[in-house]
């Protein structure tokens, strides 16, 4: 019996991987759903910021992630983009990650053009694309967006876009929304857009990095946050859409439960096999 527990502790990790794959795939294919999803105060604040802006005001959306974190951050950015478009806000889009810029294109095609066909490029939304420079770029944009981006992603001069005639500097934006997988991302926007120019910053991040922002949320430097898939699911609930994040919540619930089960098994084996005999 003891031998079994020692074996359990040295279990080939590929069995754990297999169990995880089966649970996640199974729950994505099935239609189990857990009913209650409490809206956390952080997501509520992010929602309220966007919801409280007068219609017609300009917001800056920054896609600061790349395809790697797309599964987690795409539903989150779609939810907020949808909300902003419904509220009739004007959206200036950009990205600090060069490999993430095609994701803006994707979101324009899948959210803006499909669900809001009457929104016009140039007057309702503009895609500035990517520019290197990170914080230097933000400071330049605060002086003049034209200096930072003489033309948009499609090489149209900014002067010929009506939205950009009204949004000349970053300060003309009523809020900055960043979907952030690392640096440059939310922290940079907080440090520069909020600390220097007092433009409210909100957005979303991967679940792994969410705890890092609690200090910024408590100090009021960050105006709400969607953390990972759960944050996106809450936002989808607020907007009234059952999107991919809400669907993914079941998979995430069961994956977490599986990890807890593994932790329990590991501890049972640890004590049953006699402590301290688990060195690799």
């Amino acid at each position: 019996m003891k031998g079994f527990f020692v074996g359990m502790m040295r279990i080939d990790r590929r069995w754990i991987f297999l169990a995880m794959a089966l649970v996640v795939a199974g729950s994505l294919l099935s239609d189990i759903a857990f009913p209650r999803l409490e809206i956390s105060p952080d997501v509520r604040r992010a929602y309220d910021l966007i919801d409280g802006l007068p219609s017609g005001s300009t917001v800056l959306f920054s896609w600061d992630y790349d395809p790697g974190s797309q599964p987690e951050l795409y539903p989150l950015s779609a939810a907020m983009l949808r909300h902003a478009l419904r509220r009739d806000l004007r959206i200036v889009m950009m990205g600090h990650w060069v490999t993430g810029v095609p994701l803006i294109e994707k979101q324009i095609a899948e959210v803006v053009r499909r669900e809001f066909p009457d929104k016009r490029y140039g007057s309702d939304y503009v895609n500035l694309g990517y520019k290197s420079g990170q914080n230097v770029l933000v400071i330049t944009m605060a002086k003049s967006i034209r200096d930072a981006f003489p033309a948009d992603y499609y090489q149209t001069p900014l002067d010929s876009l009506p939205l950009m005639a009204r949004c000349r500097t970053l300060r003309d934006a009523r809020a900055v929304v960043s979907f952030s997988a690392g640096d440059p991302g939310l922290i940079m926007w907080i440090q520069f857009a909020w600390q220097r120019f007092h433009i409210p910053v909100t957005g979303g991040c991967t679940a792994v990095s969410a705890p890092e922002f609690s200090a910024y949320l408590q100090s009021g430097q960050l105006h709400g946050l969607m953390g990972g898939m759960r944050g996106a699911a809450e936002y989808e609930t607020l907007v009234g859409v059952r999107g991919s994040a809400s669907v993914g919540m079941t998979a995430q619930s069961l994956a977490h439960a599986l990890i807890v089960v593994f932790i329990l098994i590991g501890n049972v084996a640890y004590f049953a096999a006699g402590r301290g005999k688990e060195e690799r």
Partner: protein
């Protein structure tokens, strides 16, 4: 001499940027911004350095038919093909480049990222053992957060006899408390310490005390 000149440049440039943080007058601010502009340009040029190194290393491997040379050949081919189609047909939606991005690069990156789910499971299996008091506390906090942050947690909690009825929000509140209080407090401590460490490191570099990164002639 070889080290003195870079040290002087480091000191002056660093000092100037610190001064510029406090002086909004255009006489200082404009030149400081221009310096930051140079940084963008220099960083953009380093990409050439990177590509040059890639080509050099992998071309050498292919030419010498060293083990795994065909991987290097694939890398060089991909580099050339992506660069060529991006330059010739553009990178906007609907182009070949975009198609390759959407159907090759994006799924590959996402696959690497999703490895996290598996590795978190295996690392948690190994790491969360109730070895001593502290480890047990860590383990309990981990379980509360993992269950409390997903809809499954409140759902299970509501089903618990007695506690679920008497304190329906207890799990939510406990989760939020762990995140807001012990988690944030610990993070702030590490953050303040790390920030001071970074300031001290920066100051050592500005003053030329820490100069091993300037090389040519060994450590400090």
């Amino acid at each position: 001499m070889k080290k003195t000149v870079p040290l002087i440049i480091t000191f002056l440039a660093g000092l100037y940027m610190i001064v510029a943080y406090f002086v909004p007058h255009p006489a200082v601010a404009n030149s400081a911004q221009q310096m930051q502009g140079w940084e963008i340009i220099i960083v953009a040029f380093t990409l050439v350095l990177g590509i040059g190194n890639l080509v050099q290393v992998h071309y050498g491997k292919v030419r010498g038919r060293r083990p795994g040379w065909f991987h290097s050949a694939a890398l060089l081919a991909c580099l050339a093909v992506m660069a060529a189609i991006g330059t010739v047909w553009g990178v906007a939606e609907g182009t070949v480049y975009y198609w390759l991005y959407d159907n090759v690069m994006a799924p590959l990156s996402a696959a690497m990222f999703s490895l996290l789910a598996f590795f978190i499971a295996s690392a948690a299996y190994r790491a969360f053992r109730a070895r001593n008091k502290e480890a047990t506390l860590l383990l309990l906090a981990a379980v509360v957060i993992m269950i409390g942050r997903v809809p499954l947690g409140p759902w299970l909690w509501a089903k618990l006899p007695w506690v679920g009825g008497h304190w329906p929000h207890a799990l939510d509140q406990l989760t939020q408390w762990v995140m807001d209080v012990p988690n944030t407090a610990g993070q702030r401590g590490i953050k303040i310490g790390a920030a001071l460490g970074a300031v001290s490191m920066a100051l050592r570099m500005l003053l030329g005390i820490e100069r091993s990164y300037l090389t040519t002639g060994g450590g400090s």
